[in-house]
């Protein structure tokens, strides 16, 4: 096999992640040393930014709070500008484990997939999210299956690796909030190959989930609509 050196980037969106951001970067440097990383500070209210600058970390500093989608998209844009072949979304709160990055990259390359999702629900190990959320996630699995004919066990997973083509697509257009199920549908609709590998996620180290109970109603209305409209494009 011809060994081409691929440039790989971990995109770490961070909103108020001062407690866990250093740990997250160390995790990548130790367990996935062939990955570069970029932190996107989504105008945190805590000292995430100062902490990162003092530690000399690679950071993009958004002057306005754009929400998770806008932050992640900045990362894809950065990946595009800097010629990365592979980019992976990696949460800044310690939920994701860098030891999977190597396996994800291997899967992406060997199975010639355009996107690889780290799924909690293939081996059903590690942090499984609450019961009601699992029902919601299952709903999206069924909805995406009905609309695209592909089975994605964890369409809400924020742990996703993309190749150059998807990087280009996401840099160009990405939803502002709750983007995962919608963008997974977008990738499938554009006939990209999406694969999943089993991962264990941890319960959060610090920070708060971006989906509070209050916002779940908005989530359950907006995201299914977004998926259906995405299918109509």
């Amino acid at each position: 096999m011809v060994c081409v050196i691929m440039k790989k980037l971990a995109i770490i969106p961070a909103y108020n992640e001062a407690e866990s951001i250093i740990y997250t970067v160390k995790d990548i440097q130790k367990n996935a040393p062939d990955f570069d990383y970029i932190i996107i500070n989504d105008r945190s209210k805590d000292n995430t930014y100062n902490l990162c600058i003092e530690a000399g970390l690679n950071i993009l500093n958004l002057p306005l709070n754009l929400g998770i989608g806008g932050a992640v998209q900045t990362g894809y844009w950065y990946a595009l500008e800097n010629g990365y072949d592979i980019a992976v979304q990696f949460d800044g709160d310690g939920q994701h484990d860098a030891k999977y990055l190597g396996i994800m990259a291997d899967t992406l390359i060997q199975k010639k997939a355009n996107m690889v999702i780290g799924s909690r629900f293939i081996e059903k190990e590690g942090y499984q999210s609450s019961g009601i959320r699992r029902i919601g996630i299952r709903f999206f699995t069924v909805l995406i299956y009905l609309l695209t004919g592909e089975k994605i066990t964890d369409p809400t997973s924020g742990f996703r690796m993309c190749d150059r083509k998807i990087i280009e697509m996401f840099a160009d257009g990405y939803p502002k909030d709750y983007p995962e199920p919608e963008t997974t549908t977008k990738a499938l609709r554009n006939k990209f190959k999406v694969d999943e590998i089993p991962v264990k996620m941890r319960a959060r180290e610090g920070g708060k989930s971006s989906i509070s109970l209050k916002k779940s109603i908005y989530y359950m209305i907006k995201v299914p609509l977004a998926i259906i409209i995405e299918r109509m494009r």
């Binding site: 993009l60 500093n61 500008e81």
Partner: protein, 128 residues
């Protein structure tokens, strides 16, 4: 039929509203481009108010008994169109702001990186 009283009340509200909008445009607080539909709506409703006969036939046609209701109906339609146009304008503006914000972050990082390189070069060449 419309009474003279309601015609005058509606007329006063419309004229003062139009004056207010024109004044804001004059002071560059509102862009003419976005105020234009409001001016159009104001003038159209004012015309119906001054000359209700204009609407008599149309009101009859759509089955509205009184021209004053026709004023409310036409005004309401204008407002709906304008508000939706605002929603579209807001969406465009918000995605422009997003793009700008992202670009600023990318450029700021390049500036920081360049500053570092320059500082290192200066050190190497013995500048201070």
């Amino acid at each position: 039929m419309m009474t003279l009283k309601i015609q005058i009340i509606i007329g006063i509200i419309l004229v003062s509203g139009l004056c207010y909008v024109v004044n804001l445009i004059r002071k560059n607080k509102v862009e003419l481009k976005y105020a234009l539909p409001w001016l159009g709506a104001g003038v159209a409703v004012l015309a119906i108010d001054c000359f209700p006969v204009l609407m008599n036939e149309l009101a009859d046609l759509v089955g509205i008994g009184s021209p004053v209701n026709m004023i409310f109906f036409v005004g309401f339609l204008f407002v709906l169109v304008i508000v939706f146009a605002m929603t579209v304008a807001l969406s465009i503006a918000s995605s422009s702001v997003k793009r700008l914000t992202q670009k600023i972050a990318l450029i700021e990082k390049r500036v920081r990186d360049l500053e570092e390189v320059i500082a290192k070069n200066n050190e190497k060449n013995g500048y201070k």
